[in-house]
């Protein structure tokens, strides 16, 4: 007889439905995309096996390199800025009870709820009089700021939830020890929010790197190619240019970058949590 809690083969049976869905809609398409990335294929006529040539193009094509570079810039606007703003807001809210906090939270969270298409069309109108979206130097930051606006509410709400579970006694103790608001933030609030920061960073990083809709709807990658990003290039090359193999290769590279970044974010957060 097996003692309770001992692993049993039947457990795999319970995993099966979930795994089947995951395999059908994530793993199989991923492997298929990986396979397609090894061909020069226009989507219609028989493809030609080219091995890793498409991956070479991802590295050597200057337009694609720029697209990945733009993604790195967008990381600042989509991930770093929202988290800093969210932390400042959460720290302020943790100092003193704010009247109508629920209302603030709802309002700040609203951009997350609105469909990105609506966000993009609205911001295009907002930017219209400034001409920033047509300026070679300002277009990318302008698109980035939209991302900041979308994401900081999410960060704030996550951090507020985290702040509320910090024991008040820690704040009382730090005040008794004479800590000011800044010291209190770094000594008490920030360390306690490590887990929430990791979650926020993961979500916003993914959003930043897979960004397609905002760019497509506001600038179409322009002016010139000043705001093109990898996901946009995937679309362009697969559906407009008819280079499905290269598009698949870009997609696989993008997925790999996202995977590595989120993995390292969570590694760092876990290690910090243990110490």
């Amino acid at each position: 007889l097996r003692p309770p809690g001992e692993p049993r083969r039947v457990a795999y049976l319970y995993l099966l439905p979930g795994f089947a869905l995951f395999a059908a809609f994530v793993l199989v398409p991923l492997v298929h995309a990986g396979w397609l990335s090894l061909f020069a294929w226009d989507g219609v006529t028989p493809g030609e096996w080219v091995g890793l040539h498409n991956y070479g193009t991802v590295v050597s094509d200057s337009e694609l390199r720029h697209a990945f570079g733009h993604s790195a810039v967008l990381l600042v606007f989509y991930a770093a800025l929202p988290i800093v703003i969210g932390l400042v807001l959460a720290a302020a809210a943790s100092r003193a009870p704010i009247r109508g906090l629920t209302a603030f939270r709802t309002i700040l969270f609203l951009p997350q709820v609105i469909a990105l298409v609506v966000v993009a069309v609205t911001w295009r109108l907002i930017y219209q009089p400034t001409g920033w979206l047509g300026d070679f130097d300002l277009a990318l930051p302008a698109v980035g700021l939209v991302g900041t606006w979308v994401a900081y509410g999410l960060a704030f709400v996550l951090f507020m939830a985290g702040v509320q579970k910090i024991p008040r006694s820690l704040y009382d103790a730090s005040r008794v020890d004479g800590a000011g608001p800044v010291r209190e933030f770094f000594a008490v609030t920030l360390p306690a929010l490590r887990g929430e920061i990791a979650v926020a960073l993961t979500l916003t990083t993914i959003a930043a790197l897979r960004n397609f809709d905002l760019v497509y709807l506001t600038t179409s990658g322009g002016p010139g190619n000043a705001t093109s990003v990898p996901a946009f290039e995937v679309y362009q090359r697969a559906f407009r240019g008819g280079d499905v193999g290269l598009a698949a290769a870009i997609g696989i590279c993008l997925a790999a970058v996202i995977f590595l970044l989120t993995l390292s974010i969570n590694r760092v957060a876990d290690r910090a949590a243990r110490t």
């Binding site: 395999a23 793993l27 199989v28 398409p29 492997v31 298929h32 396979w35 397609l36 061909f39 294929w41 226009d42 989507g43 219609v44 006529t45 028989p46 493809g47 096996w49 295009r124 930017y127 219209q128 400034t130 001409g131 920033w132 979206l133 047509g134 300026d135 070679f136 277009a139 600038t219 179409s220 990658g221 322009g222 002016p223 010139g224 190619n225 362009q236 090359r237 559906f239 407009r240 240019g241 008819g242 280079d243 499905v244």
Partner: protein, 446 residues
Amino acid sequence: MRRVAALALLLALLAGCGTPGGDAGDNTKKAEQAEQSSHKIDVAKAGDVTLTVWDQEVRGGQRRQIAELNAAFMKRYPNVTIKRVAKSFTDLNTTLKLAVSGDKAPDVVQANQGRPPMGQLVKGGLLRPLDAYASAYGWPDRYSSVLLDLNRFSPDGKTFGEGKLYGVSQMGEIVGVFYNRAMVSQPPQSFADFEKDLAAAKGRGQTPISFGNLDKWPGIHEFQSVQNLYAEPDAVRNFVFARDGASFDTPENQQAAAKLQEWVKKGYFTKNFNGTGYDPAWAQFGKGAGPFLIGGTWLLRDLEDALGDKLGFMLMPPDQSGAPARALGGESLPFAITSKSKNPDVAAAYIDFLTDANAAKVLVDTGNLPAMPTNESPTGEAGQDVFKAWESLNESDGLVPYLDYSTPSFYDQITAAVQQMLAGRESPEQFTGDLQSDYEKFTGSN
């Protein structure tokens, strides 16, 4: 480890990993066979037939004309059912390849001109050549030669602009100059006069040419409207069809780019045009921001609503007053028959019905510009201007096709390059040189 390998193998099998894409086979032979089995038939005796049609005639007058013609066809031939699948232009372009290569391919599809959609479908042997039908129904009499050439490919899909006919279109379109009669008493007859009007409008504090290029593609219209002054229509056609010796890196194209940069410097375009959307730009013109707008005839209806009788339409005035008309333009998406259609003869009769004299009348009545000749004429002065311009362009063979038909990626390249050139970040020489090298990458590999 063995388990992981087994899993990977299983996934690979599930993902259906074989060489992607169908079997192209011998297209030329298949095309000949298809033509031999093409007949003009009496549709009424064809038995019960269902034609599945994918089109993108979804806006205003376009939707009305196709609905009316479909209903009329089914009334004339009660044995035929038309199953219409309407999609937006973008949707159609992105899903068409998968649809026509699948087992349940539609019978009739609108396959956009140019190498990206139509050329690739021809290369894959997915469209049926229509030459036998064309001569049986007399289609060549309905169109000027450049309009037919735009729908021609060699059966291997490599040569564009000649070879077999793969589709015919219903409507024409011209990119010309809309003007506001309240500000332009006498439409300029020569390019020099046009530039004088621009300077005068600038002096009055107006926006001489309303222009919004945030969407990237409108800049092609500005560039080609000016390019036509310097480059011969045949030179541009040869480039679009990738004929031997054609080049983008020419003095004429550099002159056109320089002229546009001069206009930017002089402030003849909407301020911040690279950051202004296409729709806001023509809306500004409609509100009286300035005398001119370079735009396509698809804007006619909306601009008539905004400006009423004050709206006028002309072609970009030629260098010498009275010289033959030239303009950027073309035709609506052609209707084509898929290779997998089981009823190609009925499909051909349907396409004939969509493009005959009766169809031309329906098109005019629903506010469209028919590509084929017609005695009907629209109401409204600007509408009549458009009809006259179309007639004169067909007479003088002055229609110049869109540059972005030329290679699969030229749309991306030229739209981005025009934005850079207009912003002064590229000299005219860099502009033509860079685009030429992109173009050569394609012509070298085709």
